[in-house]
């Protein structure tokens, strides 16, 4: 397997005058489950569309699995599922599998039929007649039958009810265990990704705010709580990324673990959701300096 699943260098995409994605440089190792997080309009879909050739970049370049992605090219080793799990609604599930076979060079029918049989989704059912959750599962089965080395899912559970969300997430986890591919999935809800992902990319306003191994990121950051009066003394020795006022007390997000030396201050581990929220709340400039 290749070392790097995604390599982007100064990748950018402009829509008219606004940038959907800008100065995006990142390198994601292969074999990870990558969560792409950010508010709506942060550039998640833009980045994914660039990966699968539905958009062409305005600037920069993009490599997937060591291969350059050009406009209108989709790598055979990459599978993509869009937000609506778009499939031909007048096709039967069986016909959707036939479509997958004729449209792809790599195709293993058994992967899809086994998966669908396990989920009890009949091959004779029309795609337009089954539930949204089942349709998402069909889209996933069709994607996995391509035996992708990189699976890209744009907001895979956004349109699903809570039960279908859980099912989709467990199917994804099982798929990861069975096929050992790199998975990239986007969401604007961090808690959805926490169980599944081990790598995080936070996007905001078309820029990368934070990226890295989730465990490492959590290890590198701490939250400090203390009285506002001693804030300056404490923060002088810390790399403070973000501060929040709480009625005379402050909470500081810091990077790196340094002794605080003031017993009135508490040091806490940060959870993923808190970390992401804090990064999204800070000005882009600060985040960029951290990763410069």
């Amino acid at each position: 397997m290749t070392q790097s699943a995604i390599t982007a260098r100064n990748l950018g995409r402009r829509y008219g005058r606004a940038w959907g994605l800008q100065h995006c440089s990142l390198e994601v190792p292969a074999g990870r489950v990558v969560g792409l997080v950010g508010p709506n309009g942060a550039g998640k879909s833009t980045l994914m569309n660039l990966m699968v050739g539905l958009l062409r970049p305005t600037t920069g370049e993009l490599e997937l699995l060591g291969e350059r992605v050009g406009p209108n090219t989709v790598l055979e080793r990459v599978a993509y599922i869009d937000q609506e799990h778009s499939l031909y609604r007048d096709f039967t599930v069986r016909e959707m599998l036939t479509a997958g076979r004729v449209l792809n060079r790599r195709w293993d029918d058994k992967i899809a039929t086994d998966r669908l049989a396990e989920l009890g989704i009949p091959l004779t059912a029309k795609v337009g007649r089954i539930s949204g959750g089942q349709r998402a599962q069909v889209a996933l089965a069709v994607a996995l039958a391509k035996q992708p080395e990189l699976l890209i899912l744009d907001e895979p559970v956004a349109s699903l009810d809570p039960l279908a969300r859980r099912e989709m997430m467990s199917t994804l986890m099982a798929a990861k265990a069975d096929h050992d591919c790199t998975i990239v999935l986007s969401s604007h809800v961090v808690s959805e990704l926490e169980r599944l992902c081990d790598y995080l990319v936070v996007l905001d306003h078309g820029r990368v705010q934070l990226l890295g191994d989730i465990d490492e990121l959590l290890e590198q950051h701490r939250l400090l709580f203390g009285p506002a009066v001693t804030e300056d003394l404490v923060s002088a020795h810390q790399h403070v990324l973000h501060r929040e006022d709480l009625n005379g007390r402050v909470s500081l997000l810091v990077r790196g673990i340094r002794p605080v030396g003031d017993p009135s201050w508490q040091v806490q581990r940060v959870n993923l959701e808190e970390l992401v929220m804090r990064y999204l709340a800070m000005p882009s400039r600060v985040a960029e300096e951290v990763f410069a």
């Binding site: 062409r56 209108n72 989709v74 869009d82 778009s86 004729v102 792809n104 790599r106």
Partner: protein, 277 residues
């Protein structure tokens, strides 16, 4: 891709085949049952008169090519955009280029076959049992070469419109407008001038040719063979395209339609290549 094309367009193809081959079967049946040409009355009667009158509908509205453009051409990409299935279709191993070219090639071939089945049987009926004395120019629009070319053109107009507009209904509208505008330009401005018309003095018969105009000139302005005919002292002069030019004209018109077809295909490809799904 062959399977995809068949699966996605088979219903429309069935309906179009039913219309075109059904009409072809009618023309064959009535021509065969009409018996030898020598026994036909000068003016069409019975079933032939009915078909003859229906002819005018086709002549004026050009419904058959427009039908192909609206129902086969316009939805080809527009429906995929509307149902967002381009996002599926264009993220598989098959390239957009291959995807579009296969569809255009297969469906375009089907259009030409169906249209040819209609236009040849129609021509056979018209020139033997329908109205053999009126000459072929009257049914020029449904001619064996120009009609399939016009159908192919209507198809790709629909495809190009759907590619650009991304809405099936809007693309259908543009297809009707486009094919109609093209036919008006062809019939009124281009077709009469494919070759220099023949002018004949004294109102001589166009003998199955295409009558364009008639004027009268004073004898002192007249150049040519004067056979002596006069209307109010003026020499009547008829301008027309002789009947034996029919096939040459068919080739020219089919060629022009094919040229427009290539242009529309180029638009569709160019647009698809740079399209954001």
């Amino acid at each position: 891709m062959i399977w995809m094309t068949w699966r996605q367009h088979r219903t429309t193809l069935f309906i179009l085949a039913a219309v075109f081959l059904g009409l072809a079967a009618v023309f064959v049946a009535v021509t065969v049952s009409a018996g030898p040409v020598s026994e036909h009355p000068t003016n069409p009667t019975g079933i032939h008169e009915l078909l003859y009158r229906l002819e005018l509908v086709n002549e004026v509205l050009l419904p058959l090519p427009a039908l192909i453009g609206m129902f086969l051409g316009a939805p080809l990409l527009a429906a995929e955009y509307e149902h967002r299935t381009v996002r599926y279709a264009w993220t598989q191993s098959v390239s957009r280029w291959h995807w579009l070219s296969t569809k255009l090639l297969l469906l375009g071939s089907a259009v030409v076959l169906l249209a040819t089945a209609f236009s040849t049987t129609h021509m056979w009926w018209y020139t033997t049992a329908g109205a053999p004395h009126e000459g072929p120019f009257r049914i020029f629009n449904q001619g064996p070469l120009s009609f399939p070319a016009a159908c192919l053109f209507a198809f790709v107009v629909g495809v190009a419109a759907g590619t650009v507009l991304r809405r099936t209904v809007a693309a259908m509208g543009l297809t009707i407008a486009g094919t109609w505008a093209a036919s008006i330009v062809f019939v009124n401005w281009l077709r009469p001038n494919y070759m220099t018309p023949v002018t004949d003095a004294n109102g001589a018969s166009t003998s199955g040719g295409w009558f364009l105009s008639q004027t009268a000139v004073r004898p002192e302005d007249f150049v040519g063979v004067d056979s002596g005919g006069r209307i109010n002292g003026l020499i009547p002069v008829t301008t027309f395209q002789p009947a034996d030019r029919f096939w040459t004209f068919q080739v020219i018109e089919a060629g022009l339609y094919l040229g427009l077809t290539v242009a529309c295909v180029a638009v569709a490809f160019w647009w698809v290549r740079r399209a954001v799904a």
